[in-house]
Amino acid sequence: MAVTNWIDHLNKPAEEVVGAVYPGAGSSEGLLVILAIILWVGWHVLTGRSESQELERLSRKRHGANDYKSNITDW
């Protein structure tokens, strides 16, 4: 439960004092988990797609096995 005054909160019965204090405690956990799953799945979709595009672009250029050596920087 949300806390609005710590003195009032600590004056509550012991079992309430030691409960959850995050915003939306007791009512928002399900929604938060659904959001987390959506973000988690979305992340896989987006990064998977981005990686495929990058790899396709690289493959199309048909570089040789030693071509990367000319790209080593020496800042």
């Binding site: 949300a2 806390v3 609005t4 005054n5 710590w6 003195i7 600590l10 004056n11 004092v17 204090v21 995050y22 915003p23 939306g24 405690a25 928002s28 956990e29 938060l32 988990v33 959001l35 987390a36 973000l39 992340w43 987006l46 990064t47 981005s50 990686e51 990058e54 920087t73 020496d74 800042w75």
Partner: protein, 466 residues
């Protein structure tokens, strides 16, 4: 100490802070490695020395006056009365926690058998000071003089960040009372101010030679050594555990502290002496780190440099409210902070030709600012303190956490105590001709003579027969 339980609590608390200092040392090791990894070969040794020498410069000034500022300035002065002495003046009288306890001549600033806390608490805050200065250090590599950086490091490390800590972190701070400011793990108190200060310096210092083309297009000057950057950032993550722990009081009885007769409630608290748990902040630390890494990997298309930095930015963005957030809230807030900070970094670079070599303004400044603002919405209505609850602008009570107060707090951190002082001090140093290294030295490399001497030595040793 004659009572065994009191002795145990005291010695535990003393040891707890001592361990946080050891852990936080890794932040500085990490920053040194990270900066050297990001700098080019010809600047390595000067880059390392610049960041290393802030240790003694900030430590000595922190002993002489930095710690005193923290205890003297919670009232502004003149903005809200102290709950210790009901005065709005600097707290330098005989009241409890007065700054007079922490002048350089005080007996508490030494080995004192009656005080087990001052030294370790002083050191924990000192390590925060190093971090603030080190954040600035990374942004300005390869073209600032060590002299100028020393002045800037003292300014941010022993003056400006500690003023904001007195205002927005101290249990008696005026920002808690007037604004309802809440920043449990320093989104603003360390990160937004240091990022803003770095931006102010960068505006005067200018970019590295070659950073922008003649048409103004930014060029990427990538890290010389990605492995040093990797280890450096992992060490910063590791040290951050100590940072979080140091922002807490490990064991405290809040009943008597809040004046509640007959109530005893032992708990860990945050810096504001309101309850939290180490267990809870462990959830939030790791989930905000994960949110930052996920968002950074996506937005930067797998670029390691930005992905690692984004992990840090995720934690920094969620830090303001990580004493109270749900872990998934912390993760989402970390993600939001990273995406906005990343976009802002490149927009500012392109638009204003700001060359922030390690993205410090974004990772610390923008992420910290955004984290403070989000905290105002998510924790809207929570008390900013346990001592009392009142309305905004009242000053004699503590306002509750709210969006406007957090936004104003973010502006105070980033702009008022960060960007403006950084800009002014850099301007003065520039006017004295002390800010930037000569163009020729920058092109040759700060380490040119060291490397030339080493080469001569190498030749001499190689040709020696005895």
């Amino acid at each position: 100490m004659t009572d065994q339980l009191a002795a145990l609590t005291t010695i535990f608390t003393e040891f707890y802070y001592w361990v946080t200092v050891v852990l936080m040392f890794l932040i500085h090791v990490g920053f040194c490695m990270y900066e050297v990894g990001a700098s080019r070969y010809k600047h390595h040794q000067h880059t390392l020395m610049k960041n290393t020498m802030l240790i003694p410069l900030v430590t000595v000034t922190w002993f002489l006056f930095g710690w005193w500022i923290y205890w003297a300035f919670p009232t502004g002065p003149g903005l809200a009365p102290s709950i210790m002495n009901e005065s709005t003046a600097l707290i330098t009288d005989d009241s409890a926690f007065s700054a007079t306890w922490y002048t350089a001549t005080s007996e508490l600033m030494a080995i004192n058998l009656g005080d087990h806390i001052s030294g370790v608490f002083w050191a924990a805050f000192l390590l925060f000071s190093w971090t603030a200065a080190s954040i600035v250090s990374g942004a300005i590599i390869e073209r600032i003089t060590t002299f100028a950086f020393g002045i800037l490091a003292i300014a941010i490390g022993s003056v400006f960040w500690v003023i904001d800590a007195a205002w927005g972190w101290h249990f008696d701070g005026w920002m808690l009372k007037l604004l309802g400011y809440h920043d449990a793990y320093a989104s603003g108190v360390i990160h937004a101010i240091a990022g803003g200060f770095a931006l102010g310096v960068l505006m005067v210092l200018g970019p590295r030679i070659g950073k922008f083309s003649s048409s103004g297009e930014p060029r990427n000057i990538g890290p010389r050594n990605p492995w040093l950057v990797t280890i450096g950032l992992f060490l910063i993550y590791t040290g951050f555990w100590g940072f979080y722990a140091a922002c807490n009081i490990p064991i405290f009885d809040l009943g008597p502290e809040y004046g509640m007769e007959g109530i005893s409630y032992w708990t860990a608290t945050n810096i504001y002496v309101t309850p939290t748990t180490l267990s809870g902040i462990t959830f939030n630390f790791l989930m905000s780190l994960s949110g930052g890494l996920l968002a950074g990997y996506w937005i930067a298309k797998g670029d390691p440099f930005w992905t690692y930095s984004s992990g840090l930015a995720g934690i920094i963005c969620a830090s303001a409210g990580n004493d109270l957030y749900h872990p998934i809230q912390a993760m989402i807030i970390g993600m939001i902070g990273v995406v906005i900070s990343y976009k802002l970094h490149y927009w500012v670079e392109r638009k204003f030709k700001i060359d922030d070599a390690v993205g410090a303004v974004a990772v610390h400044g923008y992420a910290g600012f955004i984290g403070l603002v989000i905290c105002g919405f998510v924790l809207n209505g929570y008390p900013s303190s346990g001592y009392s609850v009142g309305a905004m602008w009242d000053g004699t009570t503590y306002a509750t956490i709210n969006p406007l107060g957090q936004f104003l707090g973010a502006l105070i951190m980033f702009v008022v105590l960060g960007l403006i002082p950084g800009y002014i001090i850099a301007k003065v140093l520039n006017g004295m001709g002390k800010l930037r290294i000569p163009r020729e030295a920058e092109i040759a490399g700060l380490d040119y003579e060291i490397m030339e001497t080493a080469k001569d030595d190498e030749k001499a040793v190689a040709s020696a027969t005895r």
